[in-house]
């Protein structure tokens, strides 16, 4: 075989895989589940799956930013629960819009605290957020005495359960808006440049006059904000904020989505579009397996394997492109 032509074919495959690999996997998953289970392919199920995907998908935006700067946050599952119990408990007093905004402010401040620990106290992100995983969860228990807070506010409930034109779940719109805004920040604003610069080479960024600590604090805070939105969506879905059950394995699903989406754990440039499609994949996979009555532990096994698989997919792209050297 002509070696040169072989290389060309390989490179084209690499480019194709880089651009269309994930959507392809998504389509395959949808097709396979549709064929194997008739209740999967209904309009209702597909649309609600897009809605459920917002739960992982919105938080994955923030996680993409954080991972791009070479950090990660495993406290977000506990954060999700704490934000929900705090927000929903004072909601009856403040009411709808103000309550939601206040809840998001709380979420931002929790992310901000993580950012301060990581930058100003120089504690590795793994240690900081592992600690906060326990702290946030415990605070949620203490605050509620382990009693779920039921949600009655209609605005709050609409965020998770509303349907536009009676069809499209509101979380889908919300997720769309979040991704658009994040895209504009990352690709069209100076702040986005700074985030990428800090991720690719923090020392060079510092010499270019960028305050690296502030950028890192900012991305942790943004992650808090997006976790806050996911938290409202999720608690509204369930009709209650449950301090113990909310956000179990959430960090794991979100990090899986981001890594599957093509953002390297070592930092650098990331892909929001990849995170979005990967969030869809993770959600549809869970739903499909659920409908097929796969035991939830086996579902975790599958998701875990997907996470490992995700990294090898990216390696495949670099191998095909012949860029393993870089």
């Amino acid at each position: 075989m002509d070696d040169f032509r072989f290389r060309k074919v390989k490179q084209n495959l690499g480019v194709f895989w880089g651009n269309f690999g994930l959507p392809l996997i998504f389509i395959i998953i949808v097709v396979v589940f549709s064929l194997s289970n008739p209740s999967f392919a209904t309009r209702y199920n597909i649309l609600s799956n897009f809605g459920f995907a917002a739960y992982v998908g919105i938080a994955a935006i923030g996680m993409t930013f954080v991972i791009m700067t070479g950090n990660f946050d495993i406290s977000i599952g506990s954060m999700l629960a704490l934000v929900a119990v705090l927000g929903s408990s004072f909601m009856p007093k403040t009411g709808g819009v103000i309550g939601v905004l206040a809840t998001l402010a709380i979420a931002c401040s929790l992310g901000f605290i993580n950012g301060i620990f990581v930058t100003k106290l120089r504690i590795p992100a793994f240690i900081t957020t592992l600690g906060m995983l326990f702290v946030f969860r415990a605070l949620a228990f203490i605050y509620t005495n382990n009693v779920p807070v039921y949600i009655s506010d209609r605005f709050w409930l609409y965020i998770g359960n509303g349907k536009l034109f009676g069809v499209i779940p509101f979380p889908v719109l919300l997720m769309g808006i979040c991704y658009l805004a994040a895209y504009l920040v990352l690709r069209k604003s100076p702040v986005g440049r700074y985030i990428i610069a800090v991720g690719t080479n923090a020392r060079a960024a510092a010499l270019s006059g960028i305050n690296v600590d502030n950028i890192k604090i900012l991305v942790f805070t943004l992650l808090g904000l997006f976790v806050g939105i996911s938290s409202i969506v999720n608690s509204a879905n369930q009709g209650a904020a449950n301090p113990g059950l909310m956000g179990q394995n959430f960090e794991f699903q979100v990090i899986t989505a981001v890594v599957l989406g093509g953002t390297a754990l070592s930092g650098g440039n990331g892909s929001l579009g990849g995170s979005l499609i990967a969030a869809l994949i993770v959600t549809f996979l869970g739903n499909g397996m659920g409908l097929m009555q796969v035991n939830s532990y086996w579902q975790l096994v599958a998701t875990g394997l997907v996470m490992i698989f995700a990294v090898s997919l990216n390696k495949l792209k670099f191998y095909l492109l012949g860029q393993g050297e870089y």
């Binding site: 070696d3 040169f4 100076p190 440049r193 990428i196 690719t200 080479n201 060079a204 650098g268 870089y326």
Partner: protein
């Protein structure tokens, strides 16, 4: 001694082409070596030498072309296959395990065994290792740990290891870069010994005189193409240099003029100290002046200049900028005042490797190229700013969205200088601006520096290349152990005095 076949050719590479996205690293290159020959491979940085070597060592696979080894067509999918074909590469960074002994390193993975292959036969291994070293006339205790060895000794261990693997071709990449003169002599003796035993050597070096001393033939690469192969006895250094450069580099350092001390002082440093690095240093920088700093490792120059830029904290000291006292606590403060800084560590803290050429250049001013109160970048304005800077510095790239790592070292350096200039600095601090870049780009950077100074920008240049300081600067300060040891004007400085001042002596 091994049998040498009739035609005498050990390795022949024909039509080798290697393409990286956006760059043709090698184009249709032919290269061959004979048994027992030292073949020197020379060329500027980015000429394609390392790519060719990486193809031979199995790190890269060529996009087209054939490799014939002893008449057989070979294909290396990985470094292991290259080793199996008796090719050894000795890199500048060694592949030895510091915690193991010399003998263990030589026979790593192939240790002679005893007691049914359970235990290592130390006696035999040490004896074999000694034999290998003896064959090369190297005096070295096999039981010593590699971590205790000097760079030169480690290199010898690598060579012995290659020989024990029955290497027929040894590739040496800048083997003398970190050796002392005495060690170089020893290395040359070893190379002569290897030749006698029929081993071929591809010798890569920036030092042309070494290529002439050692080699039978010299091959010159330039811009990924082979310019020619010459018999060493039938060529001259001048001819090889002109083949390497391709154009005659005129006016190496550009015309220089002395700046009188009457010019206004732009920057003044007083009583400046940095813990354990710099003690009570003070100096003045005039407008449009190129001020040089000379010093060896540990002189404190880099700490001093980084600190003035706000990248590391000072212990005490005052900075006056345009006559008034200023506080610089961060790089942002320095940039705001009009101080620019180009690092000596281009890879580690210069380039933003995941980002495009465009984004690398404009990162420092991106905040000012925006609309809606800094919310969004004006893409058109950004491109204009980029184009005017890249034209004035003559930066070469395929397209502006190309990732910066695909540019040559010289062009990367120009991007970083351009980035700094975009901040409209009045003072430009350059640390080793021409380190690791080729002759042509070097001359261009010297020209750029002189032009900037003529425009009134003051430049602080720290360089370990003394000719650069002597020919380019208006004044030069020598630092020794964190203190100013001597100061020279254009009229009083020469290389000899700078060398002496760097190592703590003061010559009249």
């Amino acid at each position: 001694m091994r049998e040498i076949p009739e035609n005498n050719t050990l390795l022949s590479m024909t039509g080798i082409t290697k393409i990286f996205p956006g760059v043709i690293a090698l184009k249709d290159v032919d290269f061959e070596t004979k048994y027992g020959e030292v073949h020197a491979l020379v060329g500027e940085n980015g000429a394609g030498k390392s790519t060719l070597i990486k193809i031979l060592s199995g790190l890269y696979r060529p996009d087209s072309g054939d490799i014939l080894l002893e008449g057989r067509k070979v294909f290396f999918a990985n470094t292991h296959q290259s080793q199996q074909n008796n090719i050894a590469v000795i890199y500048q960074e060694f592949n030895l395990v510091p915690e193991l002994s010399v003998a263990e390193n030589i026979f790593i993975g192939r240790e002679p065994k005893t007691f049914g292959k359970i235990f290592i036969n130390w006696k035999k291994m040490n004896a074999n290792a000694k034999e290998m070293l003896d064959r090369l006339d190297i005096e070295l205790d096999c039981k010593r740990f590699v971590s205790d060895l000097s760079v030169a000794e480690r290199q010898m261990v690598e060579i012995a290891k290659a020989l024990s693997l029955d290497a027929k071709l040894i590739i040496m990449d800048e083997p003398t870069a970190t050796l002392t003169e005495k060690e170089v002599v020893k290395l040359f003796e070893i190379i002569a010994e290897l030749k006698k035993q029929g081993v071929s050597i591809i010798y890569i070096s920036h030092r042309l005189e070494e290529a002439f001393k050692l080699s039978e033939r010299i091959t010159v690469l330039r811009d990924g193409k082979k310019i020619g192969t010459k018999l060493t006895t039938q060529t001259s250094q001048d001819e090889i240099v002109s083949m390497m450069v391709g154009k005659v580099v005129k006016d190496y350092f550009g015309g220089s003029k002395s700046v009188s001390a009457e010019r206004e002082v732009l920057l003044e440093i007083k009583n400046y100290s940095i813990a354990d690095h710099v003690y009570n240093v003070g100096f003045k920088l005039h407008k449009g002046e190129i001020l040089g700093f000379a010093g060896v490792l540990g002189s404190g120059i880099h700490s001093l200049l980084r600190s003035i830029y706000g990248a590391t904290p000072k212990t005490k000291g005052e900075i006056f900028f345009e006559g008034s006292p200023v506080e610089i606590n961060s790089t942002k403060d320095a940039i705001k005042l009009g101080i620019g800084f180009v690092t000596e560590d281009r890879k580690g803290e210069g380039i933003l490797y995941d980002m495009s050429v465009l984004q690398n250049l404009t990162i420092i001013v991106i905040k000012s190229l925006t609309f809606l109160k800094g919310l969004f970048v004006k893409a058109k304005k950004e491109k204009e700013v980029f184009n005017s800077m890249s034209n004035s510095l003559d930066i070469k790239f395929a397209n502006l969205n190309q990732r910066i790592i695909f540019l040559s070292g010289g062009n990367q350096q120009k991007v970083i200088i351009g980035r700094t200039l975009l901040s409209n600095c009045k003072v430009l601090i350059l640390l080793e601006p021409t380190r690791g870049i080729d002759v042509g780009a070097k001359a261009e950077i010297h020209r750029i520096m002189r032009e900037l100074a003529n425009k009134g920008i003051s430049i602080i240049l720290s360089s370990s290349e003394l000719p650069e300081l002597v020919n380019l600067t208006d004044r030069c300060i020598a630092l020794y152990k964190g203190k100013i040891n001597a100061e020279f004007t254009r009229e009083t400085m020469d290389e000899e005095k700078l060398v002496a001042a760097q190592i703590g002596q003061v010559k009249k």
